[in-house]
């Protein structure tokens, strides 16, 4: 089983009823340091810039209000968890169906299946080509969100399985299986896009 990395305790543990000044400064410390991460994560969840801003703004208000519940630890992970919760609430409120395109493994032909086992050098070559940036981002955008969020937290935020589990509210084993499945889907999509171009 994976060994979770030990997190250092970052902020002095403080009780309820923080003084307003230390409360504001404490929030500002987390906010100033992690606003970009919050926005990038929201952007990947919503896949839209304006909506990402709305979600981040709402999440920051929630974060400020629930600051008493934050007793130290990883400020970035704490804020990202709030961004994620805000996103799902927002999604429900707007009754927007997630437009995730699902990948259907059954329709893959032999060539695509073989591509999954392609040597690293082949994937490397694929990712070296000129439109690699477009290919990678398009593949990520189309990933169903339960996979997209763990991939983004792992690869872009460089968070540990334990941190991702805490943010997404899922068991460690699920983090691992969603990462594996998400990566498999990404490889399929990249191969598919390359064949079409």
């Amino acid at each position: 089983m994976a060994q979770a990395r030990v997190m250092a305790v970052m902020y002095p543990i403080q009780g309820k009823g923080l003084e307003p000044k230390s409360r504001a400064r404490r929030f500002e410390e987390i906010f100033a340091a992690h606003l970009d991460a919050a926005y990038a994560f929201a952007r990947w969840l919503t896949r839209d810039e304006r909506n990402a801003e709305d979600v981040v703004q709402e999440a920051c208000l929630r974060a400020f209000k629930s600051l008493d519940g934050f007793h130290g630890g990883n400020g970035r992970a704490w804020l990202l968890a709030i961004v994620r919760n805000t996103y799902y609430t927002w999604l429900k409120k707007r009754r927007v169906e997630a437009l995730s395109v699902s990948f259907d493994e059954d329709t893959m032909d032999g060539g695509e299946l073989a591509a999954l086992e392609a040597p690293g050098s082949a994937v490397d070559a694929l990712l070296q080509q000129q439109d690699a940036r477009r290919l990678v981002n398009a593949a990520l955008e189309q990933l169903p969100e339960e996979f997209r969020e763990v991939i983004v937290l792992r690869e872009l935020e460089d968070l540990s399985y334990k941190e991702i589990a805490a943010i997404a509210g899922i068991p460690l084993g699920t983090v691992m299986s969603r990462l594996a499945r998400g990566r498999k889907l990404l490889l399929q999509h990249l191969r598919h896009a390359q064949r079409e171009s």
Partner: protein, 257 residues
Amino acid sequence: MNCTESRSRLHAYLDRELDLETSLAVERHLASCADCRAAFETQSALQAGIRRHAHYPAAPAGLAERIRSQLARESGAPAPRSWRLRWPGFAQWLPVGAAAAAAAIVSWTVAVQYAAVPVEEQLAEQVIAGHARSTLGSHLVDVASSDQHTVKPWLSSKLDFSPSAVDLANAGFPLAGGRLDYVGERPVAALVYRYRQHVIDLFVWPQAQRGDAPLKALSSRGYNVLHWREGGMAYWAVSDVNEPELKAFVEAYAAAK
């Protein structure tokens, strides 16, 4: 370890989530099995590709300010009142009512800026002390590596932020590793670089002050210190190298990070 066992641990191995013993067992299996090695290389190439190419947009200009002012509006009465009590002089200048909350933000910023000068000198002393402690003792690095992909994740697993640990060997400043230190009452990242026989420490931590600050030189006890703020982070480079070399280092870091 057989292929089935190795495959089931491939992702955890890639993500450095395995304990040492299991990790070594996977490594041994990969060395002897071409199929599993190919599968690992594919995953590794995909990971590198995502990390290199995926969008990581910065928060748009103005978002931080919008959030701060909305916070000031919505957090409303109790907190701002106490803030005003704390700095009555500033709040009196502002109209009451809607502006009261904004006053809280203003006075809070002003207070931070007023405090900045002596704090800066205190911090300079602290980073020099941290640097001196590590170079005089034997505790130069907690993680020794010239590979940024080792140093950065190690530091970000211990801290609540993720400093860019770029190797600057091309500019003459090879990355030697990273260390945790404690400055300004918080744990900070110390990136350790070498320059000829010298050691340069670059202390990095997120800071509450808004806005960037240009490069500023300080020196004390035979150490040179260069300090700047950028993108919500405070940077303090400290070393016994001369100021021009330290400046060259800072420029190389700023260009590469």
